[in-house]
């Protein structure tokens, strides 16, 4: 049930293209679907990108290249080395710089005829409406549930389209929310998953090309909205499986009982989205997981002292190949059925990458009757920082 794309850009104010712009956009101008009229719509369009990371990279590059006249970039984060595998806006020399400023420089260089605004800030309930109000279309390229619900609710309150994309490992989703009479994010997912039930990012990972593909789909939908061309993804959820190289499409309906966009809406203003999503969204450790800890330095001292400690590494085999501290590998997911392999009379120190999964392992083992067990605080990352910098961090 594809719906004709309706452009949120009202009557194009008078504007013209310079000869340089005509040359730059000539491959658009010679297409009847864009033409001079469409290119002027692009020039007059104002698009706000939430996040300049994996999805934001192709979004920013293509929308700037296409001549979207005003692009806003919202990101509070700083470029690090692990970003470069997929966030193609950034170069190695950008590591350590603020993402929104680095992306602004890159996009302005790509197209000096457009205005690129950098908002070096975290999107919050306090600033979202003010930030959004000057833009026609909001594009959601964030990485966490609280911000996704915030973007959705702010778009519904202001009546602005929300071009949505999301990824996990090698699977992606894309659609357009917030169109008149169309569904919103809460129609699809009324509530976020509780923190403990979503695999953490450390277990997740993402194939670098995937955000490139999903972000490009978002860029295409944004441009179609501006042009009023083709059939919008509004009302359809596109699912992409990169490994199977399959696209599937599901019907998205407006939920008449939606608390945000339904007839009897119960939400009339922005709320505390961190509370709504359970503390800190998917990054948060499972609540109330208090387990005995050992710091990397204590562990080093104990080992140097010759104490009999059993180091239990609960990461995955492919992580063990990246680096290890000679622990016994037993992935968290296999622990329940392999628990008999462990000797509860020995003192055990469990570790993972950052300490989250091993906390779950320690919690599980304590419930299974293990008493002499500790969680290595901060995991192998902290071991690298505090004891042995030759162990690579990932």
């Amino acid at each position: 049930m594809a719906t004709k794309t309706q452009s949120p850009i009202a009557n194009t104010p008078a504007a013209s293209l310079s000869n340089e712009e005509i040359l730059r956009y000539s491959r658009h101008l010679i297409m009847p679907e864009v033409g001079m009229e469409g290119q002027l719509k692009l020039k007059n369009a104002k698009v706000l990108l939430i996040g300049t990371g994996g999805l934001g990279a192709p979004l920013g590059l293509y929308l700037a290249a296409a001549g979207v006249g005003k692009l806003g970039l919202v990101d509070f984060d700083v470029v690090d080395f692990t970003n470069l595998q997929r966030q193609v806006t950034f170069g190695t020399s950008d590591v350590g710089k603020h993402k929104s400023a680095a992306a602004q420089a890159r996009l302005s260089n790509l197209n000096p005829d457009i205005e690129v605004l950098s908002f070096e800030t975290q999107l919050t309930s306090a600033n979202a409406l003010e930030l959004f109000k000057d833009f026609d279309i909001i594009v959601d390229g964030t990485d966490n549930f609280p911000t996704r619900y915030l973007v959705n609710d702010a778009c519904i309150l202001l009546g602005k389209p929300n071009v949505y994309g999301s990824i996990f490992r090698f699977e992606g989703q894309a659609t357009v929310f917030g169109m008149p009479d169309g569904p919103c994010y809460r129609c699809l997912y009324p509530e976020p998953p509780p923190p403990g039930l979503v695999p953490s990012c450390a277990e997740g990972g993402v194939l670098g090309v995937l955000p490139g593909i999903v972000g490009s789909i978002q860029a295409m939908e944004t441009i179609k909205l501006i042009l009023g061309a083709g059939d919008s993804l509004a009302g359809r959820l596109l699912l992409f499986d990169a490994l199977g190289m399959k696209f599937r499409e599901l019907k998205l309906r407006k939920n008449p009982d939606c608390p945000m966009c339904g007839k009897n809406r119960t939400i009339h203003q922005l709320i505390d989205y961190y509370e709504f999503c359970g503390v800190r969204g998917e990054e948060a450790p499972a609540p109330d997981l208090q387990v005995p800890e050992m710091t990397p330095r204590e562990l080093k001292l104990r080992l140097d002292h010759g104490d009999d400690l059993y180091i239990l590494d609960v990461r995955e085999p492919h992580e063990y190949q990246i680096c290890n501290i000679k622990g016994h590998l037993l992935p968290l997911g296999e622990l329940p059925r392999r628990v008999h392999e462990l000797d509860s009379s020995r003192e055990i120190v469990a570790h993972c990458r950052s300490g989250k999964r091993s906390a779950e392992a320690v919690d599980f083992l304590r419930k299974a009757g293990f008493r002499k067990i500790h969680n290595l605080k901060g995991g192998i990352l902290a071991w690298s920082d505090e004891v042995d910098p030759s162990v690579p961090k990932y």
Partner: protein, 95 residues
Amino acid sequence: MAVKVIIPTPLRIYAAKKESAEVSAQTVGEALGGLTTQYSELRKHLFTDDGKLRSFVNVYLNDEDIRYMAKEATPVKDGDVVSIVPSIAGGNLEK
């Protein structure tokens, strides 16, 4: 009725890393039940303790959301595809 249940990436670790499973069922609810019988670790990710489908897990029969059909009682026929579509938040994924 033989139906295929598509398991989304985030849940595959609880389903022996399988992309899909063939189950025999009369309704969508039975199809999901059959799936969690095969992969018991999936149960808590799909159902609450009192056996209700979790609110953040969407289930589709072919391309239609079962919330707008007969929910878990929606009948299935041979060759139908049941998709589990959980919410994923990623776009940036550092940390």
